[in-house]
Amino acid sequence: MSPTLVILLVGSCVAASCALIGSFLVLRKMALLGDAISHAVLPGIVIAFLITGDRAALPMVLGAGALGVITVMLVELFNRSRRLKEDASIGVVFPALFSLGVILISRYAAQVDLDLDCVLYGEIAYAPWDTLTLGGTDLGPKALWVNGSVLLLVLLFVLIFFKELKISTFDAGLAASLGFSPVLIHYLLMSMVSVTVVGAFESVGAILVVAMLVVPPATAYLLTDRLGTMLGLAVGVGVASALGGYGLARAWDASIAGAMAMVAGLLFLAALLFSPSHGLLARLLQLWRMGRRLSGQLLLLHLRKEGEVVPVSTLERRFGWTAPRLRRVLSGLLRSGWVEREGEGLRLTPRGAEVLETTGRAQLAHKL
């Protein structure tokens, strides 16, 4: 396998598993708990290092998983004690655990083959050369094995618990009344976050895991209202960020993980601006159309009230509109055939009256 392919595969695996799990974090408004976990697993990883003495994958995953669950439990303990709000609970727990990890690394630097820079922004570029050997045979890059397994695990988790995750995410009360324990699902999800994070840790680092966890799902969230579609889109955006980021990093000779986050950010920005359903431009357009429709209705109502030909010149003063605005509104109404010109004046057509009648009734029904 060529090194490039390995990096692309590892990046795609990380992006896909983060996107799947991250979608639920974003929907549950727990994006920052993901951030907290991604930092707080550090001491777990270091302790696993110290105990086993090497970078064996399984103890690391276990150590990180344990710390992830401890983080969630501590945050909830503080939160439930009602002495701290949730944001503050997160804000005090993860720096403390991260500090513990950093101190452990510095104190036992001799035993711990873990670079602090690597903790923050990972080094996916080394992935092809750190290979897994079992009984003397070379099985290929370790990162690929680890992240491939994580992806498989996450996929299984989402497939098996899809219904439970869906219900407890959108309606925790209903989930509880149907007999699913939202608390159990919550802790399962958090354990999966920890596992995903530790898999991604070495490749993209503690902070850029957050980019992979939050940005692609948030992008997908702007594009659809359906959970299944959102998961698919999030994975797509995540993988696109990973591949695009790699290309960018090669072109600029810069950090791969950083470039991935950057591409993800650009994709998010594009969705934020141009999403057909929830983008800012679409919203502006919608507001503008609504304004125009309202103006047209006002004008029709006025014509009906007057009941005869109304000179155009009085309309400007009557509504306080600028001349271009009046022209725009009028041209729309004329084109629809709802009003007609008569000399210098305007008159409501029978069709215009009919339209006014039906929209009025529809709006009334809507209000009732």
Binding site: K29, A31, D87, I90, V92, P95, S99, R107
Partner: protein, 428 residues
């Protein structure tokens, strides 16, 4: 202890930063924006890099300016995204935090490949290297810190309103939105000041942890600000001294662990809000309820036969509330010790003093029943359970006032007599 020049710089810097972080963090904590500081710190990184690329120097002022601008842009983006799209605040913070940081890392790796890049020393902004603090940094910190404190003092009242009741502030005609931006700006300044000392990741702790600890001790904003600044400064001082005297102990993380310990102690032991005291109070309340229930049980069983002299057997009493023998003994022990009940072999009965005590509990119960029945017009078979709870919480004064308001009723809705008020005869 003899301090080296570097250690002295670190000590001054960490103490200063702790005090500033504690002050501004208090507002962030109260406004539930604890993690905004985290996002700002990460967002500042590309600013530092761009400032370096433009000016080519690593003197503190341009880098500060770059970080400041980037932090501000980040915070405005968060505000705008939340206001104008369906993205929620937590996601917005996570996105700005991680994407800005990613851009920063890209720039950083780019800079390190420049000819002069390796000596740029920009990576100290990641984890913070307090040891690289020089006198110039301290001067910048001191000046910016003084400006921040001056603003907080000048706008104290306005920031207080912003933290507790922004709606009321607007109704007074104060420009709350502009004040919010000003407070965020001050927060950015403090975050940027702290980057070099404790680094991107741990900034949030210098803001929030001292504030969260201080919050436990007081309900007054002024006191909280001072206390939070004090805790921050002390954590900074202790942390920097510890890391100076022990080898391989990074300053930032040690400071965070010191302030986290203060937080844990505060959560447990603060006089009003301390979790430990709350537990003690809960236990005391539970014990009082057990005691009053047993008194009442003994009284009611006696009342049924108008005979309080005959002692009741243990199994009989256990049956009343379905208690185990051990539970009953636990309730009975304090009564016996206070001379309110006496144990004769395997039986228990009220002493005259105990009967007086029990009358008061029953009195509260029955007057409350009358109140519910007459004033709230609850049917008489619906009032007992509520009275079971209220008998333990009503004060004697409240019951006396209720009794008067109800026209001194003689019996409860079920026809049982209401015992008289604690007799004054003993006193006269």
């Amino acid at each position: 202890m003899e301090l080296t020049f570097t250690a002295r710089n670190v000590l001054i810097g960490a103490t200063l930063l702790g005090a500033l972080g504690g002050t501004l963090g208090s507002f962030a904590l109260l406004r539930r924006q604890s993690l905004l500081g985290d996002a700002l710190a990460h967002a500042a990184l590309p600013g530092v890099c761009i400032a370096y690329l433009i000016t080519g120097t690593k003197s503190p002022l341009p880098l500060f300016a770059g970080a400041l601008v980037a932090g501000l842009i980040g915070s405005l983006l968060i505000l705008a995204t939340v206001r104008w799209s369906r993205i929620k605040e937590d996601s917005a913070i996570g996105i700005v935090l991680s994407v800005f940081f990613g851009v920063g890392i890209v720039l950083l790796t780019f800079i390190q490949k420049l000819p002069a890049g390796n000596q740029s020393g920009l990576d100290k902004y990641l984890f913070g290297q307090a040891a690289t603090l020089v006198e110039d940094d301290l001067k910048v910190m001191a000046v910016l810190g003084a400006v921040v404190v001056a603003f907080v003092v000048a706008f104290y009242k306005e920031f207080k309103l912003l933290s507790f009741d922004p709606g009321f502030g607007s109704s007074l005609g104060l420009p709350m939105r502009r004040l919010e931006v000003l407070l965020t700006l001050l927060l950015v300044v403090v975050v940027v000041v702290g980057l070099q000392t404790v680094g991107v990741v741990l900034i949030v702790a210098t803001l929030i942890t001292p504030a969260a600890a201080a919050r436990q001790w007081t309900d007054r904003l002024g006191a909280m600000l001072l206390l939070s600044a004090g805790i921050g400064a002390a954590s900074g001082a202790v942390g920097s001294l510890a890391s100076a005297s022990l080898s391989r102990l990074p300053t930032g993380p040690v400071i965070v662990l010191v302030s986290s310990s203060v937080l844990i102690v505060s959560l447990l032991l603060a006089p009003q809000r301390g979790i430990l005291w709350a537990r003690v109070r809960e236990r005391q309340a539970a014990e009082r309820i057990r005691r009053e229930n047993l008194l009442k049980d003994l009284y009611l069983l006696g009342e049924r036969k108008a005979d309080w002299a005959t002692a009741l057997t243990w199994p009989h009493l256990m049956g009343v509330r379905g208690q185990t023998g051990r539970e009953l003994s636990r309730s009975a022990r304090p009564l016996i010790a206070d001379g309110l009940a006496e144990q004769i072999g395997d039986t228990l009965r009220l002493t005259p003093a105990g009967r007086k005590e029990a009358e008061q509990v029953v009195r509260k119960h029955r007057i409350w029943e009358v109140y519910l029945n007459r004033r709230l017009e609850l049917p008489s078979d619906h009032v007992h359970r509520d009275a079971e709870a209220m008998e333990h919480t009503l004060s004697e004064l409240a019951v006396a006032e209720l009794e008067e308001a109800l026209g001194f009723p003689e019996s409860d809705p079920h026809g049982s007599p209401i015992p008289p008020r604690r007799s004054q005869r003993a006193a006269s």
